[in-house]
């Protein structure tokens, strides 16, 4: 009798909890303590997600260099990589091995056991970077670097530009005020798909999002805006709209007359 009462109370309690769990959020909509749109991971980890995302990016970088950590190399992940053979031959490795040999015996032994060479990942092996980059993007959707690097790897290293576009669009949805992602999207649409109208829309959106304030704090946005204006001028010239191209140049000159983008746009408009 007592046992069946316990069972009945447990079932009733569970049913009540489920009912309240379903009703309370809809009844008290807007008054709940949780921030709208935040998932459980975001609420638990907060800004620590950025640290985790950076760690994942570091892991991808390590994989890019063949598992070697803290390598000093001019070719980082997400930068154009034109001379793979020089690195595949282990040019940096000789420098590292030489450094290790000059130290104590334990250092020498460590140099023999742990690989010191820098061998860049190439070809089919590039897909080995993707799990870490995926984790970097998913763990911190506010990490612009993660989105841009992953898009670069997808588009240029694994030859999957459509996936890169989808990823950048997702990044833009999650970071609606960011101009850098719009520029990356525009560049990708221009270079990989030659989709000029969509690319132009992306560069225009980037221009709108740049808040190029005066002074040093506005410098990064000024650089981004000049970059977007360069592309807008280039696209305008492509379709023969020279008035629009000159307007872009004049805006760029007002913002940063000495910027490389401004100079390039000026040179391009002077050419026939």
């Amino acid at each position: 009798m007592r046992q069946s009462l316990h069972v009945g109370l447990t079932v009733a309690g569970a049913a009540l909890a489920v009912t309240l769990g379903q009703c309370v959020p809809s009844v008290c909509a807007g008054k709940m303590p949780q921030a709208v749109g935040e998932d459980v991971l975001a609420m638990i980890l907060g800004d620590a997600r950025l640290v985790f995302s950076d760690a994942m990016m570091g892991k991808a970088e390590e994989y890019f260099h063949g598992g070697v950590r803290d390598v000093v190399c001019e070719h980082g992940l997400g930068t154009p990589h034109e001379e793979p053979d020089r690195h595949a031959a282990g040019e940096h490795g000789l420098e590292h091995a030489g450094a290790a040999a000059g130290t104590d015996f334990w250092g020498w032994l460590n140099g023999q056991i742990h690989v010191q060479e820098d061998r860049h990942i190439e070809g089919e092996d590039v897909r080995e970077l993707l799990p870490w980059l995926w984790a970097a993007c998913r763990s911190a959707p506010q990490s612009i670097r993660a989105y841009e690097t992953t898009a670069f790897v997808l588009a240029h290293m694994t030859k999957r530009p459509a996936d890169a576009v989808r990823l950048l669009e997702e990044g833009i949805v999650k970071n609606p005020d960011n101009a850098s992602l719009e520029i990356s999207l525009g560049e990708l649409l221009l270079q990989s798909f030659h989709d000029l109208p969509r690319a132009e829309r992306a560069f225009e959106a980037a221009c709108r999002k740049c808040r190029a304030a005066d002074g040093p704090e506005g410098a990064p946005d000024r650089v981004l805006k000049v970059k977007a204006l360069f592309y807008l001028g280039y696209l305008a010239k492509q379709r023969g709209d020279l008035a629009r191209a000159r307007e872009c140049l004049s805006q760029a000159e007002q913002l940063a007359p000495d910027d490389a983008g401004t100079r390039d746009l000026k040179r391009m408009l002077q050419e026939k």
Binding site: G66, N110, Q112, R127, E128, L130, P131, R160
Partner: protein, 260 residues
């Protein structure tokens, strides 16, 4: 001599049986399967074929579980015997103190190595089925060096079990192992940047501390680098043997003078 060997054999059997009784192996296998199986089928951005991250996580788990089993087995060798006073009947059998020490150490090492062999067999089968590469030479080297790692860890655990309680021993040895695995390679460079006396403390740790990072071949295994020279492999194993012998000698000295 044969009596001593029989006594040693009995002590080794006891340790292996204890590992089987505690079901540690079963638990770590289930845990590894729960972590690795979903990851093995994961296709980031719809791209399949990436396998190094699974290998890396699998090896990380192998290292973690081998430390847990090796340290857990060796750190509990003597404190329960001292607390429950079962050390008296054991020494009154009569079994020489040296035989008890060697038997306990060999037992803990045998149990740890048995678990390690099972882990590496599972890893070899996993990579064989996924990548079609069956037990490459670098995997054998990784296993050989990992045994060297356990030779040192169990010797350290045994030494600590004569001086500390089991929990304190596990904590201190755990810190030492993680510290050396993380910073062992950079100790000399770190010491060079410090001022006195921190500099000398780091140099002493560098020269006297157990360089457990020598035994870690995960980077070569995961990123498909060629194996190390067999001479280097032998030198590292000799280092493990010497370090463990020194720990055992010190343990023998402490155990000989120990008053219960």
């Amino acid at each position: 001599m044969s009596v001593r060997l029989r006594q040693l054999g009995a002590l080794i059997c006891l340790s292996v049986l204890e590992l089987y009784r505690r079901k540690d192996l079963f638990v770590v296998f289930v845990l590894a399967a729960v972590i690795l199986l979903p990851l093995a089928f994961f296709a980031p951005f719809g791209v399949t074929g990436a396998g190094r991250y699974v290998n890396e996580l699998a090896l990380l788990l192998v290292w973690l579980f081998s430390i847990v089993i090796g340290l857990g087995t060796s750190a509990r060798l003597f404190p329960p015997e001292f607390e429950s006073r079962t050390i008296y009947p054991m020494l009154a059998k009569p079994v020489a103190r040296g035989t008890v020490l060697l038997g306990k150490y060999s037992g803990a090492l045998a149990a740890s190595l048995l678990a390690l062999a099972v882990f590496y067999l599972a890893y070899g089968l996993l990579t064989g089925f996924r990548q079609g590469v069956w037990f490459p030479p670098v995997l054998w080297q990784a296993f050989a060096l990992h045994t060297g790692f356990l030779v040192i860890v169990t010797a350290l655990g045994l030494l600590g079990s004569l001086l500390l309680t089991a929990s304190a021993n596990v904590t201190l040895c755990g810190l030492l192992i993680v510290g050396m695995l993380s910073f062992g390679q950079r100790l000399a460079a770190l010491a060079a940047t410090q001022t006195v006396p921190g500099k000398w403390v780091l140099y002493v740790i560098h020269w006297v501390g157990p360089h457990l990072e020598f035994f870690d071949l995960r980077q070569r295994l995961v990123h498909e680098w060629p194996p190390i020279g067999w001479g280097v492999c032998a030198a590292v194993l000799a280092y493990a043997a010497c370090y463990a012998a020194a720990c055992l000698a010190l343990s023998g000295l402490i155990f000989k003078k120990k008053r219960f």
